[in-house]
Subunit: 345 residues, 2 copies
């Protein structure tokens, strides 16, 4: 049995989406056991709508909820909240493997650092979504927002974290790693990116292919794009904005007149395929990498299928040994030998 | 007559695209007079294919060409090249209003600074493309790559430059300005963005609406997005990558089988409309703002219609007085009164 916590109150559509997603996930994988944290009455009300294996679901009643406007460092003091309760259980109960939440990103990151704790040697956790690419697979973008200010050693560790994730999550034995920069030439970028380029080139165990540009996230040939959290966040949200505009323009244009509506009828299946390929939520949430257990941060606007995909991924990634893979790769790259002590704080 | 220089050898498809674009631009606007710099024989060979008003086109023979691999600071020493010759003519001949090039971005920026020169008081020129948005208009993104490392005063000036451009190029009297950041809250980002937020809030003459995220470039409500050149470059290229993937997926899906090909026949017009709305080249090139005259950097892969659009825009923006508008707004905002001398270098 793989025990996974679900913050049932996290996200814009909670607990409707979270509960429906939970039932779908239970029905899809008989090895999954779910613990839902949140307001018991609300959760039970939603649960009554679905069929699922009751022996593999329990509810931990939490009266409090973290609001999206709460300051993260304050939010995680709400001990009775669905997210903080979940983090404490994840930390204390050895048999619980993972946490899935669609709640506040800031609180999830702070809770991960301060309650659950980092893998030994990891300086900062990093958010890592899987973005659909032109090969029909996914590009991992790490970090995409947990760390607005970075040092070279942090970016080197993001390469380790995301490479381990690519190995266990996507079965890529030697994932190609690119550094997100404002041009592909070696000298490009500010001192942070120039120095990181140098270290990544020298790191054993990391298959570094050089600098990549924003367009390579969806078009390029690499499996992992390493980024400071500021640029990574801007890249991710730019891509999401473009995807949203495409979707809006498509809807508007096909509804324009009788001719375009007729066109839609004939092209419906093709359009559906297109949408599926460009769906950012298809893979579920972003991993919060670098923590002692698997934590997945699903989009605030997660639909039931996104929650279900996040739960399925959490199980799969735990099964394939994400944390041991990070620990193994981190010891192989031996950053302490590569980076001078004064830069390695 | 509005005299505009065209670097006929700049870009991947030069001189075919540049020459065809030049003829189209001449035919579309009787007030335009073009000076093409480049290899005379090659240009004349291309010109022979088109009808145009010969009295409004001249060629300045330049034997040398800047290669995309030349280091920018070395490239602009190639005095006999089509770009450097054009820059010197732009500087020295008062009756020439503007320059359009699809050549090396780096050489265009360095040449702009070192040959043509900046508007008095402007610290750095900035690249500013017009990106299609959900309102059916354009969002100006400034800077998107001329300055990898920025200070707050530079970002404040980018707000001035792009606001003036929005006024004269798009007729928006009080353009809404957002600051590209990793979240919308006031405290978001690194010290550069926190400090810039503070100054932008206090700047008279700038209609600052606060922090915006990557998704707001294409989705949001603002006319200008101010950005450091590093993040702006990553945002722009991420958007281009997403646009390209959408285009590829569309092609592939509609060619998949007989059913999807039939769908295409019925949806053709709608798909064409969609493509047009999402076309990054529709507006022509990016302005290199902050220089003493109008300079437009068109995409390296510019098609003839992109070159023609860039030339038409150069004429229009000159007519509407871009440089005087920048000077006026710069004196109104009075950055020297706002920013302490030690930060205002």
């Amino acid at each position: 049995m793989i025990k996974i916590l679900l913050d049932a109150m996290g996200g814009d559509n909670a607990p409707q989406s979270t509960v429906q997603g939970a039932c779908d996930a239970l029905n899809a994988d008989k090895e999954i056991y779910l613990i839902l944290t949140g307001r018991k009455d609300d959760i039970e009300g939603e649960l009554s709508k679905y069929k699922y294996d009751k022996s593999r679901l329990e509810i931990v009643d939490c009266s409090d909820v973290i609001d999206m406007n709460d300051i993260p460092t304050e939010a995680i003091k709400k001990k009775g909240s669905s997210l903080v309760s979940a983090y404490w259980m994840l930390k204390k109960q050895e048999d619980i493997c993972a946490l899935v939440t669609a709640g506040s990103t800031g609180a999830t990151i702070v809770g991960g650092q301060l309650i659950l704790g980092r893998i030994r040697g990891i300086k900062r956790p990093a958010l890592c979504p899987a973005i659909p690419n032109s090969r029909g697979t996914f590009t991992l973008l790490c970090d995409c927002g947990a760390n607005a200010e970075c040092k070279p050693v942090m970016l080197c560790q993001f390469a380790v974290l995301a490479s381990a994730y690519a190995q266990v999550g996507f079965g890529i034995s030697s994932p190609k790693v690119g550094l997100l920069n404002n041009g592909t030439e070696e000298h490009k970028g500010d001192p942070l990116h120039q120095q990181t380029y140098k270290y990544l080139s020298e790191m054993k165990g990391i298959n570094f292919i050089g600098n990549v540009e924003g367009r390579d996230i969806m078009m390029g040939e690499c499996d992992v794009v390493v980024s400071d959290g500021f640029s990574g966040n801007i890249a991710l949200k730019s891509l999401e904005g473009c995807g949203k505009l495409v979707s809006e323009v498509m809807k508007k244009e096909f509804k324009k007149n009788i001719g375009s509506k007729l066109g839609y009828l004939f092209a419906r299946k093709t359009i559906k395929n297109m949408r599926a390929q460009l769906d950012f939520d298809r893979f579920g949430g972003a991993l919060l990498l670098g923590l002692k257990k698997v934590v997945i941060k699903s989009h605030g606007s997660s639909k039931p299928q996104t929650i279900a995909a996040s739960i399925a991924n959490a199980a799969q990634i735990y099964r394939n040994g994400l944390v041991p893979a990070v620990e193994k790769l981190l010891s192989e790259v031996d950053l302490d030998a590569l980076i001078p002590a004064e830069e390695n704080q």
